[in-house]
C-alpha cells in the first residue's frame, strides 16, 4: 500500500492511497497477475454509513469485509491503514484471541470504530495510538486544519512513533508504504523513493486530488498488487475511488 496526506499552500488537506493486497496468494502465469488481487477488484465498493438518515462516515471497502481500511469523516478527519509486517504479527494476536486473551482489538475494527465514534482529529489520533491491537499496523490520519496529518506506527501493544506534517520544517506531506519511515525500505520493494520524488516534483503549490492520482499512477507505486486508488478531501467531505490495473511491464509488488 501507499498512503499520502498532503497540505496545499492554502491549508487544504488531501489524503490518497493505493490499496495493495494479495502478495504470494497465487500468481496467474498466463495473465501475469495475482489471483486474489484480481478477485478482490470486483468486490470494491464505496459505502455511505448513515444514522438518522445522515452520513456518519464514508469508506472504500471490499464487499463482505466489515472492518475499514480507507475512510473519511466529512469535515473532521480522513484515515487509511497500511500493513506493517512483523514477526510479532497478527497471527500471535489471533492465537491469543482463540485462547481467550481478548484485551486487544482487531485493527480494521478499530479503524471502523474510530470513524464511527471519534469526533475530532485529536481524538482519532489518541485512539489509534493508544488502543491495544491484535496486529501491528500503520495508521495514516489526516485532519481538517493546517498541520493535521500524521503516520502512527503501531506494534500490537504500543505506539512506536508518530510522524507529523511539519510546515516549519518544510514537511508538507507524509507518505507511508509498508516500512518504518526511519528505516530504509527493502531494496526489492522501494515504492517510497519514487513516490517521494513525484511528490517533490509536483510541489506544494500544485498538490491536489488530481496530482495525487498522478503520483499513485506512477510505477512501481502502482503495481500488480494495487486493487484500488482512493482520493479524499476532508474539507469537502469527498471520497472517490477507482479500480486499477498495472499494464506490463509492471512490478509484482
Amino acid at each position: 500500500c501507499t498512503s499520502i496526506v498532503a497540505e496545499d499552500e492554502k491549508g487544504n488537506l488531501f489524503h490518497a492511497r493505493n490499496l495493495d493486497f494479495g502478495l504470494f496468494m497465487g500468481w496467474d502465469i498466463k495473465n501475469k497477475s495475482w489471483i486474489i488481487t484480481e478477485k478482490l477488484k470486483p468486490l470494491v465498493v464505496n459505502l455511505d454509513f448513515r444514522r438518522n438518515n445522515q452520513t456518519v462516515f464514508k469508506s472504500t471497502n471490499f464487499a463482505g469485509y466489515v472492518g475499514m481500511l480507507t475512510g473519511i469523516k466529512p469535515r473532521t478527519f480522513t484515515l487509511t491503514m497500511n500493513e506493517r509486517f512483523s514477526l510479532d504479527g497478527g497471527y500471535i494476536g489471533i492465537l491469543e484471541w482463540i485462547f481467550g486473551k481478548r484485551d486487544g482489538i482487531w485493527m480494521s475494527f478499530l479503524t471502523r470504530s474510530v470513524l464511527e465514534n471519534a469526533n475530532s482529529y485529536e481524538e482519532a489520533k489518541t485512539l489509534l495510538a493508544q488502543t491495544k491491537l491484535l496486529a501491528p499496523a500503520y495508521f495514516i490520519l489526516g485532519g481538517n486544519q493546517t498541520g493535521q496529518g500524521c503516520i502512527i506506527t503501531r506494534s500490537r501493544l504500543l505506539s512506536i512513533d508518530v510522524f507529523d506534517i511539519n510546515l516549519k520544517l518544510g514537511r508538507w506531506f507524509v507518505l507511508e508504504t509498508n516500512y518504518d519511515h526511519w528505516k530504509e525500505p527493502l531494496f526489492l520493494d522501494d515504492r517510497r523513493t519514487p513516490a517521494i520524488k513525484c511528490m517533490n516534483q509536483t510541489t506544494q503549490s500544485n498538490i491536489s486530488l488530481k496530482t495525487l492520482y498522478d503520483v499513485l499512477s506512477t510505477k512501481p507505486v502502482l503495481n500488480k498488487l494495487t486493487a484500488y486508488t482512493t482520493l479524499m478531501q476532508v474539507s469537502e467531505g469527498t471520497l472517490e475511488s477507482y479500480i486499477r490495473d498495472c499494464p506490463n511491464p509492471c512490478m509484482p509488488w
Binding site: 466489515v66 503520483v215 506512477t218
Partner: protein
C-alpha cells in the same frame, strides 16, 4: 525502464482516470447503522454475492493446493464459526448476516475478515 523495478517518469495528466491503468469506477451503497447489524449489509451482498463466492472459492483453491487433503478448509469451516461468537459487536452479527445473505459458510466469511491481521507476518 524495461527491467525490474520498472520505474518510470512521474506520471502527469492521468486524471480524470482513463486508459490502461483504469479498470473501472466504484459503485456507491448505503449502510444504514439504524438497522440491526445482521441486516446492514444485505443490499451490498445481494449485489456482490457472485463476486464474493468467486473470491472465497479462489482462497479455498489456494488452501487446497497447499493442503491437498482439504483439512485446512475443513478446519476453517469447523473452527472459525466459533470465533464469530467471540468478536465484538456489531462485527460478529454483521459477519453472520453476510454469511446468511451470501450463502458463504460462516467460517469462510470470518477468514476473509481476519485476512489482513493474518498476513502481517
Amino acid at each position: 525502464q524495461f527491467i525490474p523495478p520498472y520505474t518510470e517518469d512521474c506520471r502527469t495528466d492521468m486524471y480524470p482516470p482513463k486508459g490502461p491503468t483504469f479498470k473501472g469506477a466504484v459503485s456507491w451503497y448505503t449502510v444504514d447503522l439504524d438497522l440491526p447489524p445482521g441486516k446492514r449489509w444485505a443490499a451490498v451482498i445481494s449485489d456482490k454475492k457472485a463476486e464474493l463466492v468467486s473470491m472465497v472459492q479462489a482462497i479455498k483453491d489456494l488452501a487446497n493446493a497447499l493442503v491437498p487433503s482439504g483439512r485446512l478448509i475443513e478446519l476453517v469451516d469447523v473452527s472459525l464459526p466459533l470465533m464469530a461468537n467471540t468478536l465484538p459487536q456489531p462485527f460478529g452479527e454483521e459477519i453472520k448476516g453476510i454469511s446468511a445473505v451470501s450463502g458463504v459458510p460462516l467460517g469462510e466469511v470470518v477468514l476473509f475478515n481476519i485476512f489482513y491481521e493474518v498476513f502481517t507476518v
